[in-house]
């Protein structure tokens, strides 16, 4: 299991997570999945007493074969969520309430399909929040080059550039939380839940950064990641980017002052073959959007970005490349338009989808030509960091002429 400088290699410290009581919040799991998860927990914590919070809808814990140190704590959720592929406000609130009731000194909040996590990974996450002063331990997933593209294109670069934090997966679904971090997230979650937005997304890395809490990243190796249901890309992209832009708006006073660049993540050299068929349909979507949505983009983007898109629209498929700084400015301008409500927010986020597909096509062309995918993503994140003054300037003086 590879480690970043801030990570703890759990395999070498099997008893690191031993101080205080640890609470592990599980999502609703089927009978077999819960058995597998309990077995993993027993392996991960052979001697430590662990509280396992499961929703009351999960089959009765007494019926499961589990060691004495694993205590199932069924709870009635304070809030329910219909979204299972990502952690929502309801999950954070339920986790905090369970931690409060169990007097836990640290907690792990695990997402759907958590039975696929290895015992070492679970132990590593726990060790990070129990054995050090870390407030937030975020999972680092080993995804393929064609997975987690929204994260690579928008979530990671924006979070890294604006909030000056390193986690590669800002929307990770496996987290280790200190009590104060869990409380802070629960307070934010409560605000959403009080307005009946139980499915709202929270951004733990941004919260931790703005509170000046310590963040660590734990490489958890392979894991089955849950995928969204049948909802289409447009809806999901709008949901996720809308939430991120809203967070950027809320924390504007913090990120405008935050300075510094993050060291790039280490990555292994691997390439993927060019997939002409995939790129073709994404390019079709971009070309169609360019001829129809140009006037909407013109309300949001400055002339320089529109010129870049014009050049891109006439670029042949085999050399299709969206420059990193162009994509960074597009995302920044959309974030600004989201704040200023230049156009309806639903329309704004809908108009971003074809541009995102163009970035994906460009990424696939680039990686197909031999550039390691992770190198491109790290370069992109650096471009976002370089262009941060552009966003700060436009955020402060949006009416100033911008070529």
């Amino acid at each position: 299991m590879a480690s970043t400088p801030t990570q703890t290699d759990a395999a070498t410290q099997p008893t690191a997570a031993k101080t205080g009581s640890l609470l592990i919040s599980l999502p609703p799991l089927a009978n077999g999945a819960l058995d597998a998860m309990l077995s993993n927990l027993a392996t991960a914590f052979p001697t430590q007493t662990v509280l396992v919070a499961t929703p009351a809808t999960t089959p009765n814990g007494e019926a499961h074969d589990k060691p004495d140190n694993i205590h199932l704590v069924p709870y009635t959720p304070a809030a329910t969520s219909t979204t299972s592929w990502v952690l929502t406000a309801a999950d954070y609130l339920n986790n905090f309430k369970a931690a409060q009731e169990g007097h836990a000194t640290a907690c792990l909040l695990l997402g759907a399909e958590c039975q696929s996590l290895s015992p070492e990974a679970i132990r590593a996450l726990a060790a990070e929040v129990t054995g050090s002063s870390t407030d937030l331990a975020m999972a680092y997933y080993n995804l393929g080059p064609r997975e987690g593209l929204v994260n690579s294109a928008i979530l990671y670069p924006v979070t890294r550039a604006l909030f000056c934090v390193r986690p590669r997966y800002p929307l990770a679904i496996d987290l280790g939380l200190s009590p104060r971090m869990a409380e802070r997230l629960a307070i934010v979650a409560q605000k959403y839940i009080s307005t009946n937005q139980n499915d709202a997304l929270l951004w733990p890395a941004a919260e931790a950064a703005s509170a000046n809490y310590a963040i660590a990243e734990v490489d958890i190796g392979a894991r089955t990641l849950p995928q969204p249901g049948a909802t289409d890309l447009n809806t999901l992209l709008a949901q996720v980017t809308g939430s991120l832009f809203s967070e950027v708006d809320t924390k504007a006073s913090f990120w405008q002052r935050a300075r510094g660049t993050q060291p790039p993540h280490p990555f292994t050299i691997s390439t993927i073959p060019a997939e002409g068929r995939d790129i073709a349909h994404m390019l079709d979507a971009f070309h169609l959007a360019y001829s129809n949505l140009h006037e909407i983009w013109a309300l949001v983007l400055p002339p320089n970005s529109l010129l870049g898109l014009k050049r891109l629209s006439v670029t042949p498929a085999d050399s299709f490349h969206m420059p990193d700084n162009l994509w960074a400015r597009i995302v920044y301008d959309f974030a600004l338009a989201y704040r200023l409500r230049t156009i309806n927010r639903g329309h704004l986020l809908g108009a971003l989808t074809p541009l995102y597909l163009a970035w994906v096509a460009s990424h696939l062309v680039l990686t197909g030509s031999g550039t390691p995918p992770e190198k491109h993503i790290q370069d992109l994140a650096s471009a976002f960091e370089t262009d941060k003054p552009y966003l700060v300037s436009r955020w402060r003086w949006p009416d100033r002429f911008n070529p």
Binding site: V86, E147, G148, L149, V150, L288, T342, G346, V360
Partner: protein
């Protein structure tokens, strides 16, 4: 004869001058009422703007409500929307007071009896027109973006069709509200609306023919692959955006 003509002319001139003399004060009263209420409206709008800005009304609305109010506001500012509503409300009040004053100053005039109901209808018609335009613009963009993201080649045509459907509907409602045109408007609206719907249906139906046939062909290919066919696409790892 000449004396009679002269007398008739002088009497009519006298009547005109008399009418004018009784009309002018009423007109002045109307203008003064509108002007005064406009000034009051401007003052009220300025005060409201200042109070709402200091109370961070825009931020509160953005935080606590859905997009609706801000989206319909000028420059996306609910504060400006409230201020403008107050200003134009005062103007409308000024016009109503002015007409009443005009009516009172001109003896025996029944202008307000006819004008005031029509004025309220006109205000209603203007509100309808504004709302209709906003809805048309909103739906046009919604359909355009949705259709582009659904990769429909006729996205622009579809969005324009929706826009004109709403505009025609709005125009018919406005004319009906003002009681102009009567049955002609209803007939013209029916013909226009039906024509646009038929055009859209034909265009979409004919335009989609190829798409439907391609889709059916793809389904057939998917269910019945030809083994060893070099032309058949090789399965690739799917893209996962999340």
């Amino acid at each position: 004869m000449w004396q009679q003509v002269n007398s008739a002319l002088s009497q009519s001139a006298h009547r005109v001058l008399f009418k004018l003399a009784s009309f002018l004060p009423g007109l002045v009263a109307l203008l003064v009422a509108v002007l005064l209420l406009a000034l009051v409206g401007a003052a009220v709008a300025a005060i409201l703007r200042r109070i709402l800005t200091s109370a961070k009304f825009d931020e509160r609305v953005a935080r606590n409500s859905t997009d609706a109010l801000s989206d319909w506001s000028p420059s996306g500012s609910p504060t400006l929307l409230v201020a403008r509503i107050a200003f134009w409300g005062c103007i409308a009040l000024g016009v109503i007071i002015g007409i009443s004053a005009f009516d009172a100053s001109s003896n025996g005039s029944q202008i307000s009896t006819f004008l005031l109901p029509y004025l309220t209808h006109s205000v209603g018609a203007i509100v309808l027109l504004i709302i209709g335009n906003l809805v048309a613009r909103f739906l046009e963009r919604s359909v355009l973006i949705g259709a582009v993201n659904a990769r429909l080649q006729y996205a622009r045509f579809l969005s324009l069709g929706i826009k004109w459907l709403v505009l025609v509907l709005t125009a018919a409602m406005v004319l009906d509200h003002l009681e102009i045109g009567g049955a002609i408007v209803e007939l013209a609206f029916g013909i226009l609306f039906g024509g646009i719907v038929l055009t859209l249906a034909l265009a979409v139906g004919l335009g989609s023919r190829d798409i439907v046939s391609r889709s059916l062909e793809k389904n057939v290919e998917r269910t019945d692959p030809i083994p060893g066919d070099p032309e058949s696409p090789t399965p690739s790892e799917p893209l996962r955006h999340f």
